[in-house]
Symmetry: C2
């Protein structure tokens, strides 16, 4: 299947402006039809989902750019891409650990509030 930018925007939940911006940054590079309109493919779709995943896990555009560059170069860069993902995996792991710690502390604080409210009868 092929999609116009409007359809693709709805599918990916990324604004049209954002899609053009991503293309400008060489993240997503859809084909063009005879009238120069963008034609996004299913491959573009899967790739866009992956980009969103990288973004949602805190990878900056610059780094995604680098990954996209390697991807465009084909199989010879598989090693390097896997290396990038492995490094990123570690950062993700640390993010999760940090958030869990924050969660524990937050729970302490909430408990403290609960007691204070009880004590001062502000229930």
């Amino acid at each position: 299947m092929e999609y116009s930018i409007g359809e693709f925007s709805r599918l990916t939940n990324l604004g049209i402006h954002t899609l053009r911006y991503y293309e400008h940054e060489n993240l997503i590079t859809p084909k063009r039809n005879s009238s120069n309109r963008r034609c996004y493919s299913d491959k573009d779709l899967a790739w866009t989902y992956f980009i969103k995943r990288l973004k949602d896990t805190g990878m900056p555009i610059k780094e995604i750019q680098r990954y996209a560059e390697l991807r465009a170069e084909g199989d010879l860069t598989l090693n390097e891409r896997m290396e990038m993902l492995t490094v990123h995996r570690e950062s993700l792991n640390e993010q999760i650990k940090a958030l869990q710690e924050h969660m524990a502390k937050l729970d302490d604080k909430i408990d403290f509030y609960r007691q204070e409210i009880e004590r001062t009868s502000l229930k």
Copy 2:
């Protein structure tokens, strides 16, 4: 104990400029000495650590501002503050869940790469 902005900067690992910016945004409000220099207290220190925690868990400055405002109003706002933290706790929980999902998918991808590299003998 009381700390100058320089000492406080070292203690909190926040730049001097950042501390002044936080004060400008009414997040941290240290006392001043006779020559108008900032005097940070241990209470400011504990509060600053908490601000960092909120920031590190994705709370925007605007919201921390609101929290700081309530805090300045005293015990009568304990309920409202607890409510804010409880809501934030939920967002934290969702962040963690999302990251764990991303992690699983990332592991899949890394596995896939491993196989591809094996298959195409790019070891």
